[in-house]
């Protein structure tokens, strides 16, 4: 079932002390209201360094709202939020310097080439040209697309675009990268290749915060939280969740939680 069985052994929760226990995201009583509608209802969770944290929930459960708050794209109504050690209210600037973000819609300029996109984002994050060139060569080689460096993004297949968008989002070595449903619209094989990249980033110490509604992806995460109607209903490793709910896979866990609510 799980293509990466060794991963859970690396889970920061099991590893105990050390660097891995460092909190990179701290959320206490986060509330976000739009008028009378409560999108996030007193969320509480921590995310640890190097962890792959899955943020699950049906459409409209409030996961994108919460993620936007963590990225500084939206202001919370109340609550305490720290990202990369910085306060989301007062130190938005520093938070933004330390995160990468890949939006649902994808985030590269279709009418620019791969190299131009990388140059543009390097400029935004203040990466020096020499460093950029070196890292770009590595990136192109790693993705095996050296020949396509001068191709327009718009001409590439969707799977490539997603891998590129992710690589660009972590190009400035952020502490945390936020992925908002990064693998929408591609087949499971392409999705798994995409996850290879996520593991590489995680190995380098980059924390990955990912929203998804694909349950096979939930299995790949170190820990997952499941949201429903603005609240976090469950938060644990996929193994523990499956045990707790007596389920064979995450899909069942998810369905059981949703049914319990009704």
């Amino acid at each position: 079932m799980n293509p990466y069985p060794d991963l859970h052994q690396n889970s920061p929760l099991l590893e105990g002390l050390g660097e891995a226990n460092q909190k990179v995201i701290e959320v206490r009583d986060l509330v976000k209201k739009f008028g009378n509608f409560v999108a996030n209802d007193h969320l509480n969770f921590d995310v640890y360094k190097g962890e792959i944290f899955g943020f699950l929930g049906a459409n409209g459960a409030g996961k994108t709202t919460a993620m936007k708050i963590l990225c500084g794209l939206s202001a919370p109504t109340s609550g305490k939020v720290k990202v990369a050690g910085f306060d989301i209210y007062k130190e938005t600037e520093k938070v933004k310097r330390n995160i990468g973000y890949m939006s649902q819609k994808f985030s590269l300029y279709e009418d620019l080439t791969i190299a131009e996109n990388i140059r543009f984002y390097s400029g935004i994050y203040g990466i020096k040209p020499a460093e950029r060139k070196e890292k770009m060569e590595k990136l192109l080689k790693n993705l095996d697309i050296e020949s396509a460096r001068d191709s327009l993004i718009g001409s590439l297949p969707l799977g490539w675009k997603q891998k590129l968008a992710f690589s660009v989002a972590i190009f400035h070595d952020p502490k945390i990268v936020f992925l908002d449903e990064p693998t929408g619209g591609v087949d499971p094989i392409t999705r798994r290749k995409f996850w290879d990249l996520i593991y590489e980033a995680s190995d380098r110490g980059i924390t990955v915060f990912v929203t998804t509604h694909y349950m096979d992806e939930a299995e790949y995460c170190n820990r997952v939280s499941i949201m429903n109607e603005g609240r976090i209903e469950a938060l644990d490793t996929p193994e523990n969740l499956k045990q707790k709910y007596g389920a064979k896979n995450m899909d069942e866990v998810f369905l059981k939680i949703a049914r319990n609510k009704e």
Binding site: L73, S74, R97, Y101, S103, F106, Y121, I124
Partner: protein
């Protein structure tokens, strides 16, 4: 959906009412050097015709050009001294029609109507008792545009239109494109400040528009012989102000429009048509029905065209266009303020 049914109605009414080259209620000034019965009667005839409204009474020694520079009137009618005596004794009298030809079509119509009314009066009222060959000597002068060249009118109008198009429309489309493609979110999640993002989007269009303005003026001057009687630097500064206004309007549109299509639609509907129809560029504002005349006050190009014509054709400085300049500055501030407000709401 509503728009599909409303559009033809609005367009038809707008065009039908606006494209109306007849003149009515044009403001004129009178300089009467005789003050006798005949001149009084002629003035009464002019005013009661419905074409003219008495805007100002001038006195000998007044600077006639000043009333044109201030844009108060479209034509000055001057009666020579001893008008009645001359008419009754020699059958000859002098009247001068001085028209503001920075709008050549209106000037042409105004002068021909006015001389028609004057000659008609003399023939009907005076010829009956006087046996002399009666003759009114109507001297027509076209101020600012002796040759009645229509290009004098088109240069300011085209400039307003192009600057609106490039600045407002292109800005709104390019910003809403980033929103549509999702790249805007990534930029907002980056260390860039919103103001840096907006400046980055706007600066290229600022430069492009400025080059466009310069090109239009140069072609106007060297190819069509349109004069620049005022200060060139002042002219370019006012153009710069207008471009800033249009850019902030473009930003405002982009905060409202969710995608490129809508931005384009708003720009064309809200900017292009009014610029052409209601700014006084093609059709004189005073001929429009009252609601449209009121609406035309909200059209930035209306004020810009007045400024450009004043500087280029009448050679005036800030003294005569400070009001229009202030209106453009006010509009710029309002558009920027509204954009910031909309932007904040979206982020919350």
């Amino acid at each position: 959906m509503m728009i599909i049914f409303l559009l033809p109605v609005v367009q038809l009414l707008l065009f039908g009412k606006v494209i109306n080259t007849d003149i009515q209620n044009s403001r004129i000034a009178i300089l009467d050097l005789s003050h006798d019965n005949t001149t009084r009667e002629i003035i009464a005839k002019l005013v009661s015709s419905g074409y003219f409204v008495l805007g100002e009474e001038l006195h000998p020694g007044d600077d006639v050009e000043d009333v044109f520079r201030q844009g108060k009137v479209k034509m000055v009618v001057t009666f020579g001294p001893e008008f009645e005596q001359n008419l009754e004794r020699d059958g000859k009298a002098n009247v001068q029609l001085l028209a503001d030809a920075s709008d050549p079509n209106t000037a042409r119509i105004l002068t021909s109507y006015a001389s028609g009314i004057i000659n008609d009066y003399v023939k009907k009222e005076k010829l009956q008792n006087i046996q002399l060959p009666n003759q009114i000597n109507t001297e027509v002068r076209m101020l600012y545009n002796e040759g009645l060249k229509s290009v004098y009118m088109f240069v300011p109008g085209i400039m307003a239109m192009i600057l609106m198009l490039i600045s407002a429309m292109m800005t709104s489309i390019s910003i809403s494109k980033e929103k549509e493609l999702g790249t805007m979110e990534v930029l907002l999640a980056s260390p860039l400040k919103p103001i840096q993002i907006v400046l980055g989007k706007v600066t290229p269009y600022l430069l492009l528009s400025f080059i466009n303005a310069l090109t239009i003026i140069l072609i106007g001057v060297f190819f069509f012989g349109v004069p620049i009687r005022g200060s060139f630097v002042f002219l370019m500064s006012e153009s710069f102000l207008f471009i800033l206004m249009a850019l902030s309007l473009g930003i405002l549109i982009s905060t409202v429009a969710p995608n490129q299509m809508v931005a384009m639609f708003i720009s064309v509907l809200a900017l292009m048509l009014p610029t052409i129809l209601l700014s006084g560029f093609m059709f004189p504002i005073e001929n429009m029905p009252l609601p449209l005349r009121i609406l035309s006050h909200a059209m930035p190009p209306r004020w810009f065209i007045v400024i450009i014509k004043n500087i280029m054709l009448k050679g005036t400085g800030i003294l005569f266009v400070w009001k229009e300049t202030l209106i453009l500055i006010f509009m710029t501030v309002v558009f920027i303020g509204l954009s910031i407000k909309n932007f904040k709401i979206r982020l919350e």
